[in-house]
Symmetry: C2
Subunit: 308 residues, 2 copies
């Protein structure tokens, strides 16, 4: 047993991860995989950090609405903005997909990529989770940080493959997860190349380019990486196709679902949740003997120490 996974309780989950790594890294063994092919992919929301009471990127969008409200007096009478400003989330939810789309596009477009990065950076370094009163980046899972380090120490290249926005993650994932920007895959909005005052800029448009969810995940993995992963970690039905794609490789694979079972230390939810719904993937994981991590049972610690 390695000390690398110190926040994992001894048991089948920890053992399965350690056995897999031993198997693919031992030269001469049947399951040996050359370093260049040791690709591990990780969903972000609910897999590397929490996602309750809503995806953190949605909480970011709502914070942005509050920050931008002074320039938008019309929002006082206009949903979904009114609901955000009044803290009436039922009203926001009632606006449905169209309202959510407007909320996201209004807060995520209309600026250059450089300007957006500064906005994200500022938010990530100051905004605090409404219930847990921590920086969002302090709500990452300590056991998963250890898995990331452990895999990299064993020659793996670690990638994020998230339904969240690629540009919402890139400014901070290197510092928080040790994953460089070029190893982040996610949803994208369309950007346009423009020359402004003689200098080129990329402008974010209010238009979806690609949704990196469900079938989108293996498609994006193929497009960005061009290799099939040998390890994949997810936590919801949105990760199912990525897990199937990984499991279908010709060699050994480690296919993992993080199951949110700890209502005391984090949250407990699965089949009936609106966020991170885990239903079909849970059935398929049982059926195919993928590794199901039970947070309550398997994780000694949930979060790292708060940085401030």
């Amino acid at each position: 047993m390695t000390n690398a996974l110190a926040s994992w309780n001894p048991g089948p989950a920890r053992k399965a991860i350690e056995d897999f790594v031993a198997r693919v890294t031992t030269p001469g063994e049947a399951g040996f995989v050359p370093e260049a092919e040791r690709i591990a992919v990780f969903d972000n929301d609910g897999t590397l950090w929490s996602e309750q009471p809503a995806y953190f990127q949605l909480l970011f969008a709502m914070d942005r609405v509050r920050a931008m409200a002074a320039d938008h007096p019309e929002w006082e009478n206009q949903q979904p903005f009114k609901g955000v400003l009044e803290g009436d989330f039922e009203a926001v939810v009632k606006t449905g997909k169209a309202g959510l789309f407007e909320l996201m596009m209004t807060t995520h477009s209309g600026m250059t990529t450089t300007e957006f990065e500064d906005i994200v950076q500022e938010w990530v370094s100051s905004a605090r989770h409404p219930q847990l009163d921590r920086l969002y980046t302090d709500l990452v899972f300590q056991p998963m940080l250890e898995v990331l380090d452990y895999l990299r120490a064993n020659g793996f290249k670690t990638f994020i493959v998230s339904g969240g926005g690629i540009e919402f993650m890139r400014p901070w994932v290197d510092e928080v997860y040790g994953i460089p920007r070029e190893q982040v895959i996610g949803s994208t909005i369309t950007v346009a190349f423009e020359i402004r005052d003689g200098a080129p800029v990329l402008v974010r448009l209010p238009e979806i380019d690609f949704i990196d969810d469900k079938e989108g995940k293996p498609i994006a993995i193929h497009k960005f990486i061009g290799r099939r992963p040998i390890a994949a970690f997810g936590n919801s039905d949105g990760d199912l196709q990525m897990l199937q794609w990984t499991a279908a490789g010709s060699g050994p694979s480690l296919v993992v679902l993080v199951h949110h079972t700890d209502a005391d230390r984090e949250w407990a939810y699965d089949r009936d949740s609106h966020i991170g719904r885990l239903d079909a993937a849970l059935d398929e994981a049982s059926e195919k003997n993928w590794l199901i991590v039970d947070m309550k049972r398997d994780w000694r610690t949930i979060y790292p120490a708060a940085t401030r």
Copy 2:
């Protein structure tokens, strides 16, 4: 002067590359760039390998038509296939963009990604250039191979950013250029995720997903890498926006055009060429003092020794 660039004649081009590398890699110097930010991007056709008498991927498509013709008797009377089968390239060219599109889609879609990779691999390891009678992968530029190695030895991460198909390049670029698959950016066709006989596959559809050319290059660099390169190498107007985007960084940058000036050892073409047209970018390079590599003057050798 380093020996790393042995196929470069001593002179201003070689010196500019060496000086840039010294500048960004010397700790404490004003121009120092941390390793994680040493991103170098390379166009492929005409920059890393030749592109005459036509883009090699088009020659591949024509070879595929010949290979597939037995199953398509109707092609005997149908352009652009008829022209390919009869070696009548004027007839092919006459079919215009629509004909070219049909030629590419017919030969590049309708199979799984795995099947397509096998087809490319087989072609690359056996097809020979019609005039030079060499494997296409023996028509890469020796001086550029040295630049790739030299940059990597100095902590750079090297990426391809090509108008060519991402899946046409990935099977062989690691062996030929030392560039891993996940550092290849290019044009893509749409793929669909399907479950066939219980196993997931990605199927290539006859539909353009993204053209990685002109404005598409900085857009794709931003999407795939998420960092602005500090070095960029191109050879045509299709690379102009990538070069502008690189030059606009806040620190030092190396912005390079490979100018095809050697009709004896390779080809000579620029402003009037249908392939690799270099016109606006040549003007802008002169105006902004970007490095213009004169193949005839600057390169001692063009190609490496043929492998067979």
